[in-house]
Every structure is written in C-alpha cells, then in structure tokens.
Subunit: 369 residues, 2 copies
C-alpha cells in the first residue's frame, strides 16, 4: 500500500504541521494536541487513510461549519458504569478521548464502563480509543457509525457506515492485541488511498446498481456520494459466503452507536440537510471497557492471551505463506519503521498541504515538495 517513491516527512515535523493547522482554524491548543496525536498515530501505524490524508477534511469541515473547532463536551446523563455524552459537533477525537477516559475510570471502580456519544464528528482511527483502555490494563472496545456506504445483503444501496469495531487488550508481549476494522470488506479511506495512487481495487469490494463489481477507486468514491455505488459487507454479496454476517455486524455497530443516545442513523448521517445544504454529521460512538483485574490477575490474563496469540502464529502455514499475523502486529511494526523513515506524502496530498499552507499563510516548514 505504501508508495515507495513518495517523499517522506519526519513524524515530528508532520505532527507539528497538523497541530499548527488545527490551532490556526480555532482548535484550542490542548485539543489540537489530542487531534494531532490521533492523526499521527494513524500515519505511524501505516493506516494512511486516516492520518495526514484526512487533515484537509477536518480543515474544510471546520471552515464550512460542519464541525466546531471548540468542543463543548457535555455529560447528559451518568450512572455508576454508564454515561451519555453530547459532543455538540465538536472535534471527534477530543470527544472520543474524553469519553473513553470516562469509561476507563468507571471500570476502575465498578469493573465495567460504557459511554454513548451523540452529535459527534469523525474521530480518526477507532483503534486509538481501544488502545487507551489496554494501556490502562483493561479490555477496550470502540464503535462508531459513519456516512452511509455499506449495502445490506440483497441491496445495492449504501446505507450503513463502514461501522468499525475496535477491540484491544494487553498481552505478555511488547505488541498488544489490537483489532480495528470496518465491517465492510474494505473502507472508504482505502479508496481514497487507491485513488491517490491510481491503483485498481479488488473486484468484490464494491457493487454497482446492477450488482456488478466496481474497481475504479475514483468512480467508487463518486458513486458512494451519489448513492450509485455501495461497499459490500464482510462476507461479500448475497449469503453464500456469509455476507449477512458482515451486514449484521455493521447493524450492531449502528445500534450501539445510535440507539443508546437516541441519535441519528443511516441516511441522516450524510452531512447534508434535505435541501442539500451542508450540516453537521451527527455521528454516534460507543465506548466500552472491562477491567481485567475484576476477573483475574492482570499477569494471568496477559499470559493466557499471549499463549493464544503465539499458538495462532505457530499454526501450520498455507503453501506459499511466510508468516501468520495476529491483530495489531503489522501496525506495531509499521510504527517502528515509519518513526525512522517518515510518512510518505503522495502528490495529491502534497497539493492539499500546499493549499492549506497558502490559505493559512504558514511558514517554517521544509517539506521536500
């Protein structure tokens, strides 16, 4: 996926750039630190679609009023293990981090915690929040709905968001177990990467209105906004290979994200009002924590989990396969590598960054483009 010819920007420099851009459009200093950390974490983990490549999206949405640079984090209701939070269309990362921290604090006292969030905005990589919990010695889960893109089984209309599931927990190894994946076969951000790099998509990821596969990333992205292309759920079209399971999982994420806070869902998450004007996305999230030490000693949990992962990696390989991974390993290794090499910046992204630099009149960046 990574473009080996693209010039690299050092991680610290890219972080500094994202932080300055966010503060210059009105995000308070401390909140910009949170947002830039979520974004750079995505780039470090090799999830190119959700880091610097999304900066201009946030920048545009703040400037056109679809989200607020200053986050008004409002606790609507609270119980011993639960809370409902209203994000008031602020910065999704700020809302997400504070909400997951609430769930962690609750689980520390009661054994479990969960926070349902309404009126939020795109919060970056789902796994960031699950990782917060595992770093606190807990199991963490994070869910969010998103703009319509997945077609239900037997439909060709984008309805459900890519609705990711993130699950993290500590192990007795340096690399934690961290699962973070859309419930579609692949996700919107990946098409943005394929579009930027002019790569054809794998047939089977997207359906057109006749039920045929689409492989041009640009056409897919246009089709998703025009309601003429739809991502297929994990398991693919129809029922033969379990597509109804991916569809069902996406529905679970939609319910967790919307129903516990009486929120908007599906077609109401388009970011447009019925007259076609831009409006906030009104996304919902759900964060959940389980305090491991309420069940067993943390080191026992870590040893069992590490044992599971090592046995999986040692499974007999398929002919031609060289390595069996467990969730989070590739991203963990990316992080070490990219910290040294820097983040690749493809030409279309260079252009976006130049636009921002020019519009904000930024100086002091020595980017290699």
């Amino acid at each position: 996926m990574i473009d080996k010819t693209a010039p690299r920007v050092a991680v610290n420099e890219l972080y500094r750039f994202m932080h300055e851009v966010l503060t210059r459009v009105g995000v308070p200093e401390e909140d910009a630190t949170v947002c830039a950390d979520v974004l750079i974490t995505s780039d470090l983990r090799g999830i190119e679609s959700h880091g610097i490549q999304r900066l201009k999206m946030y920048y545009d949405r703040i400037r056109n009023g679809q989200q607020q640079a200053v986050t008004q984090f409002e606790i609507v209701r609270e119980g011993p293990t639960t809370a409902v939070v209203d994000g008031n269309h602020g910065m999704g990362m700020v809302i997400g981090k504070r909400s997951m921290q609430m769930a962690i604090d609750k689980a520390r006292v009661y054994g479990m915690g969960s926070v349902a969030v309404r009126n939020s905005t795109h919060f970056g990589i789902d796994g960031y929040y699950a990782r917060m919990a595992l770093e606190a010695g807990m199991i963490g889960m994070s869910f969010t709905n998103a703009r319509p893109s997945i077609a239900p089984t037997f439909s060709v209309q984008p309805k459900l968001g890519t609705n990711p599931i993130a699950f993290g927990c500590p192990t007795d190894e340096e690399c934690p177990f961290l699962y973070d994946a859309a419930t579609s076969i692949t996700q919107r951000g990946k098409f943005e990467v394929y579009e930027r790099t002019n790569k054809p998509c794998v047939p089977g990821w997207v359906t057109d209105q006749q039920g045929n596969p689409m492989t041009d990333a640009h056409e897919v992205l246009v089709g998703l906004t025009k309601d003429t292309a739809a991502l297929l759920p994990l398991g693919g079209a129809g029922e033969d290979l379990g597509g109804y399971k991916g569809y069902g999982l996406a529905t679970i994420v939609e319910i967790l994200s919307a129903s516990l806070q009486t929120g908007q869902f599906l077609n109401n998450l388009l970011g447009f009002d019925p007259q076609g004007g831009k409006r906030p996305f009104m996304l919902g999230h759900f964060f959940m924590t389980i305090n491991i030490e309420s069940f067993v000693a943390l080191n026992e949990f870590k040893a069992t989990t590490g044992g599971i992962l090592r046995e999986l990696r040692a499974a007999r390989k398929a002919p031609g396969a060289t390595r069996i991974y467990t969730a989070g390993e590739k991203e963990f290794e990316n992080e070490k590598r990219i910290r040294g090499e820097g983040v690749p910046i493809v030409p279309t992204l260079q252009a976006e960054m130049k636009t921002i630099i020019s519009e904000l009149g930024l100086t002091g960046y020595n980017f290699p483009f």
Copy 2:
C-alpha cells in the same frame, strides 16, 4: 436447508422426548427443562444443527464422562458488575443460563454486567443467552470458544473454534434484533446437516492442506477431527476480501472466552488428552449485558432501533432480490411456522433417536418412523 420430505415430529412431543432422555441419563428434572428448552428453541428457529440433531452428542458425552449430568455451578469470584464462574464440566445450557441471569441481575443494579465461565461444555445456540437479556429490556451479548476448526489467515490448520458472536436487543416490533453467527463463514453443525442430507458445500467454506476448497461435508467433518481440513474465517482465505477480519473476530471471541478465567484455549479444547483418551472439553464462555434504561428510556431505544431496521429493509434491492432481512427475522418466522408444522427428522437422525430409545428402553413415543 429444511428437508421437505422428512417426517415431522410435533414440537411438544420432541421436547418431551429430549427432556426424558436427559433425565434418564442423570440430568436433574429442572436442569433437563433448561437443556431441552435451549435445544427445542434451536429447532424452532430453524437452526437444525443445534437442536435434536445434537441430542445424541450430549447423550454420548454424558455417558462417556466428558460432561457431568449434574451441574455444580460454582461462583469463583464476584464483583459489582463481574463474576467468574466454574461450570465443573456440567451441562453447558444450565451453566450458560445461570451465568447470563447473573449478568442481567448485575446490569439491573449497576448498568452493566459480565460473567466469564470456565470448565463448561457445549451450550447449544449462542443466541439463546443474548435473547434472555433482550427479554429483560437489555442489550445482551454472548460468546463461546469451541473445538478447533477455523484456520488463521495464511494457515490451513484448524485452530480457532467457530467462536460465535451473539447480540440481541429489543425493538418496537414483535421480532427482536437477534444476531447469532459463527466467525467462520459457516459452522460445524451446518456440515452435519449437509452430511445428513447429502448436499455439496459451497466452495470457499473450507480449505484442505493445499489451500484448495473442499465441498464434501463428510470429508470436511472427518478432516476437521484429523487436522486436515479447516474452516475459513468470515472474509475467506488470504487478505483480499477481508479474511483477516473474520480471523481477528474469532480471536477476540477466544480471548473473551478464555483469558478472563485463565482457561484452556485452541488445541486444548479438543476433548482428548495427549494420550488420545477422551476428557472434558473445558470450554469458556463470556456473557455481557447493558441495561438500556441506564442510557435512555427503553421505548426511545426501541424506536431508534426499529427505525434503523425498517430503513435497512426498505433499502433499494439488488436486481432479482425479493426481500431484505434484518438479523433474527428469518428465525422469528421459522418459529411460527415450525410450531405449526413440527420439526423435520431426516433418516440418519431417526436412526440416532431409535438407538437412544432402544438403549434407554423408552416407550410412549408415536414417532412417524
């Protein structure tokens, strides 16, 4: 899937038979009521693989000592929202129902509940326990590990169980939302049904040791026990269509089922000791509840969820498609139908039932075979 030519047995009569068989092999009256209810619920929902077709499995395992007819339900540790339970190799359904009830009771007080179970046995359909929670006005989730059958991505060795995820919640409609699905494309019980009915399997469900698809259900079942066939995770072989996601979800279920109770996992769940002798399966389960009313009014939750499901069902259909379902609808409709028509009993199942009748010397059943 249902064999239209097979003779039918009335639901009440089949329940009475299963209940008597279980009590005759030593399951206490009240526990047999629970077990038979879980089994007949499976038959009613049209999940043929997990009802009467599994009776002989339980019967054999009790008689050969792999599980105990009398369940010693032991609470090892308990906190406000959490508990660890030891099932002491008793009846999985009895252990499962009592554990989920504990999680429901905890969520009623604290907003959430979860129970990790060790040393359990096959507990029937996962969805039974999630349904208990939704009938109590809660979100219910249920997870279990199982004998090795799924190959990790890039492996051909059965390692993970079919490791199902069940999720249920109430809606404003008569039919609740109830998702219950293996994290493999399809599950072991389905091959048992295909074997009994001599149907070829869909290529892509199972891999042989060369990475090629297997379609003979009998060969698949033999291969799974001989370590020469493996189910593919949801998303299929390799990474192109997201197989690593199904594999990751199966791993999450293994972690939830084993690590919170320092239990056995993967190859240690084979039901055989290293010398090849039969031993208990030592399965783990994890049950989780979220009390909806800790977040929003129950009727608000139901209305939002019902709204999501109705919008999904009304999505634009793929060419040739006649209906879009949401999770649990097909099973809900099966239940109404099968309650009237009775449960189909295919010839191989008839033979198993006759064996049990003969071995236990049962009388008073007028089965049409």
